[in-house]
């Protein structure tokens, strides 16, 4: 005879979603998402979204891009990370429009769009934050639009003048994109340096630090020419140790974060993330930017925990990776769910069943002090 447990949280979540759907007069759709439910634990779990409201689109996500530095820091819960479990990681992907809400910025069902998608098979998102994907651009490139916006924002904030020499600390995808964009912006020479590469002191006008390593800031400052600038585009994880004595040259350390995009005024223009993303995709499509380097690793969503454990350890290094939602059966990826009843009663697993049987046997025996 099998025994079961009742998932109260599932029941509550089901009820709340339907209450929201009733208030908003929208349907409910079910999909799958990568979820960090507890610190260090990641699982693929079912979840629900509402159909799109005014200005929104519902997207069936095909590929979602991994941001290795950010997601490794979130999974490892490094200093500076404020997001706490439970959360769904990811912020960049590509997919097809399933449904559109009223006033959804000219998108139609079937359109291929890129946007700030989490690692999940469905996403309801504001159309104003999404980008149409040029026909000639493959999904595997368009999925990285979120990282492209970060790189563009960083280069824009650096204010590279024609002919300036640029050093990029960090050879990952963001570093490579930053280097390419610095060249497009007019830099006279761009150098990429990894952790073990030697860097000459006072050798660059602009130094981008994309490492996320608090100790690298010292390296960046030493590499900047007097009155040069360090652009802190990677999130440093922890406090910087004491700087070397004599590091007294005047230096500017300019912080850059994606949440400040839309605040950079260049001339009279303020660049929004939507405009940055459109520009990035356009340059990718025409070949002005290329995603070079080793091939992309595609991850099956149900192997997400194994992937994050590997990402957390940092070995082997993850450079470019995509969750491939097309590998899920259609019924799991996306289905109508308004009238679905929740699965709240589930059988005990083998461990739970063994413990339950032991407890029952002891109950029938005597307790401490009895006979």
């Amino acid at each position: 005879m099998r025994h079961f447990s009742v998932r109260k949280s599932e029941l509550l979540s089901w009820g709340r979603t339907r209450a929201r759907a009733l208030r908003a007069r929208r349907g409910v759709r079910a999909g799958r998402r990568v979820r960090c439910e507890r610190s260090g634990t990641v699982a693929l779990e079912p979840f629900e979204v509402l159909d799109p409201g005014p200005g929104d689109v519902l997207v069936r996500v095909d590929l979602s891009a991994v941001s290795p530095g950010t997601e490794r820091a979130q999974y490892n819960r490094l200093p500076g990370v404020t997001i706490e479990p439970p959360f769904t990681p990811g912020y960049s992907g590509v997919g097809r429009v399933l449904r559109v809400g009223p006033g959804a910025g000219g998108f139609r069902p079937g359109d291929r769009i890129a946007g700030p998608f989490h690692h999940q098979s469905l996403e309801t998102v504001a159309a104003s934050r999404c980008h149409p994907v040029p026909d000639s651009l493959p999904d595997e490139a368009a999925a990285f639009v979120g990282l492209g916006i970060i790189a563009l924002h960083g280069v824009r904030r650096a204010g590279i003048a024609w002919g300036e020499e640029v050093l990029v600390l960090g050879r990952g995808l963001l570093g490579q994109l930053t280097g390419m964009l610095a060249e497009i912006a007019g830099s006279g020479a761009v150098t990429l340096a990894g952790r073990s590469d030697a860097v000459a002191p006072a050798s660059a006008d602009v130094v981008f630090d994309l490492t996320g390593n608090p100790e690298a800031i010292q390296r960046a400052v030493a590499a900047a020419r007097p009155a040069g600038r360090v652009v802190l585009a990677g999130s440093p994880r922890g406090a910087t140790p004491a700087w070397p004595a004599g590091a007294a040259a005047p230096v500017e350390i300019r912080g850059v974060h994606a949440t400040q995009a839309g605040a950079v005024v260049a001339g009279r223009k303020t660049w929004t993330p939507r405009e940055e993303g459109d520009l990035f995709l356009e340059w990718l499509a025409c070949g002005r930017l290329t995603l070079t380097g080793p091939g992309v690793e595609t991850i099956k969503p149900d192997e997400c925990w194994e992937f994050y454990r590997r990402l957390g350890r940092g070995a082997p290094r993850v450079e470019r990776a995509l969750f491939d939602w097309r590998t899920l059966p259609d019924g799991e990826r996306d289905r109508a769910s308004t009238l679905r009843f929740p699965e709240v009663v589930v059988p005990l697993d083998a461990d739970q069943e063994a413990r339950r049987r032991r407890s029952v046997r002891l109950k029938h025996s005597s307790g401490w002090g009895g006979r």
Partner: protein
Amino acid sequence: MSGPGPAAPGGVGFAIAGCGEIALRNARAIAASGAGTLRWAIDPNRSLAEDLARRHGARAGEALSQALEDPAVHVILIASPHDLHATLALEALHAGRHAIVEKPLARTAEEARRMIAAARERRVSVAAFYALRHYPETEAARALFVEGTLGDLHSGSISEHFSKEMPYWFGGSSGRSRSSWRAWRERSGGGVLIMNLCHHLDRLLHLTGRRVERVSCETARRAVPGDVEDVAAMVLRLEGGAVIAVDASTSAPGGGDARIALRAEHGQIALDPPPRFLALRRNPHGATNRWCALPTGDEVSARGAFISAFVSEMSQPSPGLPQGLADALHVQEILDAAYASAESGRPVDLPAREDSDARTPARA
């Protein structure tokens, strides 16, 4: 620096040095014990100190010296990273305060001996906070051994495997205090052996009253972003010939239930949930020839009981080494031997009991 003032009954003043996750539980235990009040929360990270202080109406500080200047502080509870245990304990003991040190007592037996010597010189008490001793199932299991119900100990198995993922190594289980000290031997003294198995070693000594004579150990590092071990397996030979197999790891996906069993001539004890015993002889605690439940309790009560017992003992110092402290020192000796064995690939013998009166025999 001023010494402590006299403590009114129930008015013993505590200071906690190190306000990470375990400090929260210790502060609740101090309140639950009724033996005293938390007066200071000390941590170089001021926000952690202020958070703990706010929860318990205490004062916050960044250096232990601030608490030692307050004559209303009598006991320092040290819950810092392991490399600071000796430094902070010695500072407290030299200032005439009693000290409770979170497990393990120190990184090595040599550090532990220095702390014990300082306490004896200043005539104050020091203890290692091995709370498992005060769980109801431990006390009940010990009674079975002491009374002789189970007979001579033959063998034992201690097995515990955790899923300590990367976030643990950068900030502990809760992430309250983000530091990678646990991953580096210089700071922590080691990995799963000293961090987790020390609890079980202490409880083994407490239950059986037997010293460990020989240690054979193998360790490995598989998934730690540092230099400590995350896999360990030991075989211990106890006085009287019992053999205990111990294994643990922190890199087991999904973790697993602990398995803790001690097998004796006339029965056995299992301390994994639900704790239980089986005795072939009649006894006042349960039926013969079948598994019976041991009483259970919660962590805060157990920690509170430890604190109450410490406060009682500290005001009535004994001439010899208190049993708990002798066991805590022996745990350090076992750990030193285990690491030495893992490094050399050979079993390590431990010195015989120096003072046969220092331990209470386990059997009546």
